[in-house]
C-alpha cells in the first residue's frame, strides 16, 4: 500500500513566499505547455527549469529522488510496453525459439518523451503542493470562480482521508487486542471489516459536519478571502510565462517561420 505523508512543508524559500493564486496560475499554464512539447531538447530544457525551481524551493534532494521514484513506478511499465508495441523502424531483435522480440526506434522515442513529460509535470506539482498550504490552494480555486461547494468537498475529502487512517488503526489495534490477526485471503471477512470501517467513518464525519453546520457553515461563498500580490510575485510570474513562451516558440519555430514568410508575402 502507498504510504500517506502530509505534503505541505513550512520553508522560507522564494517559492514558498510567492503568492498562491499567481503560483497556481503559472503552474497550470506551465503544465499544459509541457504536455504540448514534442522535442527532446525542449523537454530537457523544461525539466532543467523545473529542477531549478525545485532547488529554489529549498526542498531536500531525498524528496526529489522519492518523487521521481514514485512516478517511475507507474510510467516505466507503460514505457517498456511501448518499446515492443509501437511499429516502425526496427531497431533491435532477439529470437527466442518460435518468435522474435523486436524493439522499434519509434517506441524508444515515444517512451522517452512520455517519461520526460511525466517526470516534469509530477515534479512541478509536488513543488506546488509542498510550498503552498492546502487552504491557500482552495482559496485560490475560489478566486478563480470554482464553485464553493466543490472547493468545500475538496477540503472535507482531504480532512476525512486522515480520519480513515485513524479509524483503521483503531480497528487494527482492537482486533490485535482480541487475539485476531487480519488475513487478506478471506474476501467476505475483509469486505465486512472494511465496510464497517466505512460506516464508522461515515457516522463520525456526519457528526463533525453537523457541528460545522451548527457553527454557521453554509454553501455561500466566504467573503473574507484575500491575497497579497506584490510586484515581486508579478515579476516571477512574468519570468515563468516568458520561459513558457520561449519553449512554445522554439518548439514551433519552423511553423512560425513559415507563417511569418507567408505574412510578409501577403503584405508585399
Amino acid at each position: 500500500m502507498n504510504s500517506y505523508r502530509p505534503l505541505y512543508q513550512k520553508n522560507n524559500s522564494l517559492i514558498n513566499r510567492w503568492s498562491s493564486p499567481v503560483k497556481l496560475l503559472f503552474v497550470i499554464i506551465y503544465v499544459f505547455v509541457i504536455s504540448s512539447l514534442h522535442s527532446f531538447m525542449m523537454l530537457s530544457f523544461s525539466l532543467g527549469f523545473t529542477i531549478f525551481l525545485f532547488f529554489l524551493s529549498k526542498l531536500k534532494l531525498t524528496r526529489l529522488l522519492r518523487n521521481i521514484s514514485q512516478i517511475l513506478l507507474f510510467i516505466v511499465p507503460f514505457s517498456i510496453l511501448l518499446l515492443f508495441t509501437i511499429q516502425g523502424n526496427h531497431y533491435y531483435s532477439y529470437r527466442i525459439s518460435f518468435f522474435t522480440i523486436k524493439i522499434y526506434r519509434e517506441g524508444i522515442n515515444l517512451s522517452l518523451l512520455i517519461l520526460l513529460r511525466s517526470m516534469n509535470i509530477f515534479l512541478l506539482l509536488s513543488i506546488l503542493l509542498t510550498t503552498t498550504k492546502p487552504n491557500a490552494i482552495l482559496h485560490s480555486f475560489i478566486l478563480f470562480r470554482i464553485p464553493y461547494a466543490l472547493a468545500l468537498l475538496f477540503t472535507l475529502t482531504y480532512r476525512y482521508i486522515t480520519r480513515y487512517f485513524y479509524e483503521a488503526q483503531k480497528l487494527k489495534t482492537a482486533s490485535v487486542l482480541r487475539g485476531y490477526k487480519l488475513k487478506f485471503t478471506n474476501i467476505g471477512q475483509n469486505v465486512k471489516l472494511y465496510s464497517n470501517l466505512f460506516l464508522r467513518t461515515y457516522e463520525d464525519t456526519n457528526l463533525s459536519y453537523k457541528a460545522m453546520m451548527l457553527r454557521g457553515l453554509t454553501l455561500k461563498k466566504p467573503e473574507n478571502i484575500s491575497f497579497k500580490v506584490c510586484s515581486k510575485d508579478v515579476f516571477l510570474f512574468i519570468i515563468g510565462l516568458s520561459f513558457c513562451l520561449f519553449l512554445l516558440i522554439f518548439e514551433n519555430r519552423v511553423m512560425i517561420n513559415k507563417l511569418w514568410q507567408q505574412t510578409i508575402l501577403l503584405l508585399k
Binding site: 517498456i80 509501437i86 464553485p147 468537498l153 482521508i161
Partner: protein, 200 residues
C-alpha cells in the same frame, strides 16, 4: 486504467477538461448541503481503495469501487471521482493532471452511467437473485465502460498505441470481475446494517 501525464495530446485533454468541468459545475449547482459529508466520505473511501495495488503482468491495477460509489451517491459519484482522481494524481502520480478531465470522464462517467441505469432499479426489484445480479453488474460494468473509454482515448491520441491498448483492456477484465464480487458483498452488508445510506 488511469492515463498518465504526457500521453494525451492537448487537443484531447482540453476538451476532456471542458466536458468534465461542465458536468461538475452542473452537479455542484444542484447539490444540497446535507449531501456534502456523504459525498466527501465516499470520495475518501474511493481514494483509499486506490492505494491497494494488484500487479497483473506489465501493469498494476487497483480497486476503483465505481459500482459501490454509484449505488450510494447516484449521479454525484462523478464529483466524487473528480476529487479522488485529483488527489491520486497530486499525491501518488496515479493518472495525471493534464489527463484529469479524460480520467474523470472515463471512471466517473462510467460510474455515473451505472448510477443512472441501476440506482432506480434498487427499489423496484424484489427478487433476491436479480438484485444480487444488479449489484454484481454495477461493479463489473463500471470498470468495463471505463476500460472501453480509456482505450478509445489512448487510441484516438495515437493509432500506433493499438497493441498496448489491447493489453491494457484485457488486463482490466479480472479487475472488473473482482469489483463485481466486492460490490455484491459490500452493498449486501450496507443494506443489512444501514439501508438508509443506499435508499436515500
Amino acid at each position: 486504467m488511469h492515463i498518465s501525464d504526457g500521453i494525451l495530446p492537448v487537443y484531447i485533454s482540453i476538451p476532456g477538461y471542458i466536458i468534465s468541468g461542465l458536468i461538475s459545475i452542473f452537479l455542484t449547482i444542484k447539490i444540497k448541503l446535507e449531501r456534502i459529508p456523504k459525498i466527501a466520505t465516499v470520495t475518501s473511501a474511493l481514494f483509499i481503495a486506490s492505494l491497494f495495488h494488484l500487479n497483473i503482468g506489465p501493469s498494476s491495477i487497483h480497486l476503483v469501487l465505481g459500482g459501490i460509489g454509484a449505488l450510494i451517491l447516484g449521479a454525484d459519484v462523478f464529483l466524487a471521482f473528480v476529487i479522488a482522481l485529483f488527489f491520486q494524481a497530486v499525491m501518488f502520480s496515479e493518472g495525471g493532471i493534464t489527463a484529469l478531465g479524460i480520467n474523470a470522464l472515463a471512471i466517473g462517467g462510467g460510474a455515473m452511467l451505472i448510477a443512472i441505469l441501476f440506482k432506480p432499479l434498487l427499489l423496484k426489484i424484489k427478487n433476491k437473485i436479480l438484485i444480487n445480479l444488479v449489484y454484481f453488474l454495477a461493479g463489473f460494468l463500471s470498470i468495463f465502460f471505463s476500460a472501453i473509454f480509456t482505450s478509445s482515448m489512448i487510441l484516438l491520441s495515437d493509432v500506433s498505441f493499438s497493441n498496448i491498448v489491447k493489453i491494457l483492456f484485457l488486463s482490466h477484465l479480472p479487475l472488473a470481475l473482482i469489483e463485481g464480487v466486492i460490490t455484491l458483498f459490500v452493498i449486501n452488508f450496507i443494506i443489512k446494517v444501514k439501508p438508509k445510506l443506499i435508499y436515500e
